[in-house]
Amino acid sequence: MKRILALVMVFVLALSLAACNTEKTGDGKDPKSEGVMTYAEYAAAELETPVVIEAFVQAKQAWYEPAATTSIYAQDADGAYFMYRIACSAEDYAKLVPGTKIKVTGHKAAWSGEVEIVDATFEIIEGSTFVAEPLDVTAMLADEKVIEHQNKLVAFKGMTVEATKDADGNDVAFLYNYDGSGEEGSDLYFTVSVNGASYSFTVESDLCGVDSDVYKAVKNLKIGDKIDMEGFLYWYNGVNPHITSVTPAK
């Protein structure tokens, strides 16, 4: 009896591991369901037109209680999407872990250059999952074509932390809010450079709060630090990545 029980347990364990592996090896290339756009079709769609997409959640912002909404960064094998203030119950919000497949119905819009899906609803699709590998866009930052990767999970390698001026004209490595008017819990802004050009990067507090590793890491930055970063290629009148990870440059 004991032997049979042991065998059953080993079998169950093997099945569990197989299931885990399946989740990790998703490639985001699932065929789209009927009536769902491919990424190319979405990219070609006019602004203000209805869109239906399927993609995999990469990250979510805080849940906005009064209206029961959140904002989601999602991606498939071909491109990325940002869902702004999508209707979301507290129960569904808990289920939106990275990799979760969702079908989104809404309208394509653009706000200050950020292409997004608004007035949207979603449903969770059980089954396959996909967590994107960050795409290194460091060399593309100065290239106008970097916009083609808008909203994707991206990586920046070997960038240098530049001095940012605070309100008193002091050189600092980061600011709470763009001008230092915030406090602990506000968005963090810092300047990084590569190939002679500087860029403003943000830790969006609704995405990575004060307890997150990246929030703490940015607070510990020193001017001149060489760092690698990951984040989402958000847009606000130009490149304005929402950074999710900062580590010393390798």
């Binding site: 602004l47 009064p66 819009a109 309100a167």
Partner: protein
Amino acid sequence: MKNTVKKIAAFLIAVCIVLPALVGCHGSRILEPFVMPEELDLSREYEITFWAKNDTNILQTRIYEKAIADFQALYPNIHVNLRLYTDYGKIYNDVITNIATRTTPNVCITYPDHIATYRTGKNIVVPLDELFVNEKYGLGGSEVKFDSPTPAEIIPQFLAECVLDGEYYAFPFMRSTEACYINKTYVEKLGYTVPDVLTWDFIWEVSEAAAQKDADGVYLVNGQKVMRPFIYKSTDNMMIQMLRQRGAGYSTPDGEIQIFNDTTKELLFTIAGHVKNSAFTTFKIDGYPGNFLNAGQCVFAIDSTAGATWIGTHAPLSDISEDSLVEFETVVRPIPQFDPEHPTMISQGPSVCVFNKEDPKEVLASWLFAQFLLTNEVQIAYSQTEGYVPVTSKAQNSDEYQDYLSRCGEDHKTYYDVKIQAAKLLLANTENTFVTPVFNGSVSLRDASGQMIENVTKSIRRKETVDEAYMEKLFADMTSLYRLDQRSTEGGNTAGNKTELGALPAASVTLLGALAAAWVLIILYVGIGFIKKAKK
């Protein structure tokens, strides 16, 4: 058995006595009304919290910090803890949350609309009438250690905005209105002259002209592929002011909803027509008006006078890259009017309220700090951070402030011309300002008024049909979404009205359960005793 029952009954009775006290500590017990103490005991320490809003502007943060430091130098025993917000909505949500747990701040920057909701909790916000005129600690009182204004020195229009149900529940901190920031260079290029008072007809006509493109989709006025001729930042204000100017219904002072009327419909149809021709859009749909204006992609940008430092080619604050800035002449005018002979515009801006606490002396200490925000030093410094105006005649008439106004355009920082023009606009039109009635639910009505413009604008852009049936559905949707049909029309303050309170808190359920169990056991005990006695 008898002893055991006795013990259980005694325990439950004790629970019944102690539990209400514990539950009371957590907020369900009603605060006593604030009673003015005779003296402020300055031999003890006070810890007060101040929730402040800034416009994501470091100078404003610094002024709050300096105000606290200066106040604490005068009152070393009163310690003020600052918590910063950049959004009125977040302050409102946090206050609502903290009312339930009795952890409201002591002093808070707020809007009277919000106070109307705070007041649905009993004795939550302190009425200020008595504090204003108290001989020792009131405005200009004998025991006040700083030079505060008298009640008569607060601009009457601004102070009147803080009256709810006949009492002052706040006082104004700063005031602003909306302004139309205009690319004069483009208006003249289109063959028009900017009038002193804009009309809606003028703004629509010029916007339509600015929306003209060539065969390649390039706008004729700016030579770019992007042009948003007319952008409105706050569509709530747009609808509210248009209705006011037309003399149409919005709400009564006691909260009867009147916004769903024929004038509203007519205005929405007019807006829809201009959206169709790409002449009009909104901040929520496209982005900040100032950013488009500064990039030469907008002709008329309507935003708060408190946003003036972001507007114009040489604006001290900017959200767009240097290479996107376009050189043009900016002029500032009041918002467009239907009747230019009688201009009307909204008054807005932060007010200050004081929250009630169990210790009246703590409230008095809070009031003293709140009052400090009305000193010339704070008023003038804060007003200079944006196109705000001070709320006291004492500050407005001071040499320092008059000197500031006279130096308009001297630099692109403190004396930035667009900012000072915006402030002057309100100073010249204080008599022409108005506010909407405040009642529990007025926040929702305000949201609905703007949402109607947003929905119509989106629908037209999405090529949906906007007709009578659409309007009927829109009115019904807004009524339902913002629960505008669930309001009492019998009184502005619904504090005494019945409202849906939801499920009982766990502590209350426990208490009621304990009470029920105690009564069952008491009856059981008495019953057993009675039976035993009867058997004997």
